[in-house]
Subunit: 424 residues, 2 copies
């Protein structure tokens, strides 16, 4: 835990909708990232509904423990928006209505051609002693209050308001407060994200743990990021940056080609960059994934310079008509077979006139499995140059996991082939 500077933060998310079965507090992930980058650890998080007594009690308890308390949500204009009132109660201070803020709110509505509803005036109530934080993206201003060396921050819940408000208004105050708290310039935290494809979490840990455990003071986290992908996060204070990179290099050497990025890039972005650099193009042929691989390749803008498109060959007719898979192949080996995967890849490459093509066919389940080909059996075909390479995998998990995992294996086959071609 060397990355911590001893400052203890807590986050309270306010809103009854966050206590239901449908919605999680995602603001705290963003805030935690921003705090961690500044060496501040989040020690507890809380979710509390729109009951004033619950909210005031939660805030009172957290204020008794935390050096820094960030509260999100409950700053709207409705009766249910009680964060201001509860914070005043918890702190034992009053709320003061700011005439300047009332004017700002009126102007906000006027710009939209509307009169300000009367109820919005309560958004101009500021905790005694607090600074108001102008919100250019909505009606709810934030608040910043320091007392006895501790800081309380109130922020609106919607991410499109919270994030820019944090960056513009909170970050500079936070850094100044941190400087004063620590009595020195706070040391920034540096982070490295290694992405590892097609290796299990325990296999990665078995190789990585003996290495990283020798690097005291560098915090290492293993995350099962997506099916078939593992992330290793390395974090250290900036003064440890040379050692951080020494650790990164040792991990990369030990994990070899399984590491697809040391810069936190997505696997599809790495493959896209390889293709761009080689000036080559790609097509896909998808059966059980139904378009998921194409969707993943086009999730980020800019894919058009290497991705031509593909065929979703869900039915056997489509495999024959659009990809030219031979009826005998389907009859003899089945649509889920190495032979079919190979012909699908060749067919997509031919139909879209590309340098490379990836094909996926498999049994994503829950039905359709057999003893010879149980649910999770997946064949990946890769066509390029004069070669067609096919791999078979037995994946474990639910349908969506098997589908996602298949796209990762497919992308990783191409990545390894492109890396080999570049090295040759």
């Amino acid at each position: 835990m060397a990355r911590e500077n001893g400052i203890r933060a807590e986050i309270v998310a306010v809103g009854s909708e966050l206590l239901g079965a449908d919605r999680l507090d995602t603001d705290s992930l963003y805030l935690t990232g921003e705090l961690n980058r500044r060496g501040i650890a989040v020690r507890r998080k809380h979710v509390v509904g729109d009951r004033r007594a619950d909210l005031a009690e939660t805030l009172r308890e957290a204020l008794g423990r935390a050096d820094l308390l960030i509260v999100t949500g409950g700053l709207g204009p409705t009766e249910d928006d009680l964060t201001r009132e509860a914070a005043a109660e918890a702190l034992g201070v009053g709320l003061e209505r700011s005439a300047a803020l009332v004017e700002r709110l009126r102007a906000y509505f006027a710009r939209r051609g509307a009169a300000m509803p009367e109820r919005n005036t309560k958004q101009a109530d500021v905790l005694a002693g607090a600074e108001s934080l102008a919100n250019g993206w909505g009606t709810a201003p934030g608040q910043w209050l320091e007392r006895d060396g501790r800081a309380l921050v109130l922020l609106p819940g919607p991410p499109r308001e919270l994030r820019p408000l944090f960056a513009e208004q909170v970050a500079p105050r936070l850094e100044s407060w941190l400087r004063r708290r620590l009595g020195r310039e706070p040391e920034p935290i540096v982070m490295v994200r290694l992405g590892i494809a097609d290796m299990g979490e325990s296999a990665v840990d078995e190789i990585a743990a003996p290495i990283y455990s020798a690097f005291d003071g560098i915090e290492t986290t293993i995350l099962a990021a997506r099916p078939g992908e593992i992330e290793l996060h390395l974090r250290a204070p900036a003064s440890e940056e040379p050692r951080l990179h020494a650790l990164r290099e040792r991990l990369q050497a030990a994990l070899g080609l399984a590491v697809y990025t040391s810069q936190g890039l997505a696997l599809e972005a790495v493959v896209g960059e390889q293709l761009r650099r080689a000036g080559q193009t790609l097509a896909v042929a998808e059966s059980c994934t139904g378009g998921l691989l194409g969707a993943r390749l086009t999730a980020a803008a800019g894919a058009s310079c290497f991705f031509q498109g593909g065929v979703i060959s869900y039915s056997n007719d489509a495999k024959q008509a659009l990809l030219g898979v031979a009826p005998e192949t389907l009859a003899r080996h089945g649509a889920v077979s190495g032979a079919a995967a190979g012909e699908m890849a060749q067919g997509a490459r031919r139909a879209l006139a590309t340098d490379w093509a990836l094909a996926i066919t498999g049994i994503a389940g829950p039905g359709g499995g057999s003893e010879a080909k149980p649910v999770g059996t997946v064949f990946i075909g890769l066509a390029g140059g004069a070669k067609v390479e096919v791999v078979e995998r037995r994946l474990v998990g639910e349908r969506e996991r098997i589908r996602q995992w298949s796209t990762t294996i497919a992308l990783d086959r191409l990545r390894r082939a492109l890396a080999g071609a570049a090295a040759a």
Copy 2:
């Protein structure tokens, strides 16, 4: 809040990984759903790391407030797994090692051909007075403890262990406890989920609020579920079921064809069911969505009886070669145009010999927009029978949002066409 029975629950999720910037506690959503169905409201949620003092303090505070406290995680065999110890400390009771549980653990490892590591024995420690809850899906048993009419439940964190363990071991104990607490049979909660496509949240609320606000005692929640989709959740005790359905009917009548389900089905499942019932087939042609519509149609098993497949026509070459879009159409109107969308739909229908075809072409951004066709401009083509229908939309948001939203509009166009055909 008529659905509540006055029982106050809190949930504590344990694990330092849940205090980072990458991972949220999703167990609490599942647990909240299970509790709400039994009329129990969750009043607060907490996340706390693997520090024993923090954990014990959080549990002590929550035990002082909650009638029912569920703690997830921290039941593993490592040094960081401290939930048992912290709960014992918070309750002021001892831990007793169960010889029977040690035997069970040994047997668990033996079945996997391994000796039990010594450290796993601590998983056999049970709070004095607690029942151990057998975990058939992993090594960490749960625990159930009643004291002074209150209940404490410890559960393992991994969802694939927590969920079956809850269903098998916790649910019956919870219901028995609830019966004793309330001194009567607990009244189950009934719930209706209306799905509404292609209408904004405020437009839905404007129509729905005057209706549901006249139904006291039925809790109504509006959720912006996915881009372009709104959910209305209606909840009431079982005794109110006739009024719940009266409300549902009034909402359906007022919202009309925009309601695609009153049974909580996904939009793609509704469309799939319509096609199945009509014995008709579907193909897709996707440009900016890159396969997302196909992926969505095949997310649930069973799509093969209506979904033939499609073409991902990311490049203009693919639009011409695989869908037969005329070069003049692309030259005169551009690839993002109503004419192109119409020809793409017709081409997909022809290539895959289906009854219907949906096509999507648009500018998902962030680049590529112009004054005439800004980012978010999307054309949806629907071919079926002798007709081709094209709609144009201007969607707002980030790239992934625009792509998701486009697939919803496409599915909804087909749903409305099929509903019209069925009514005719």
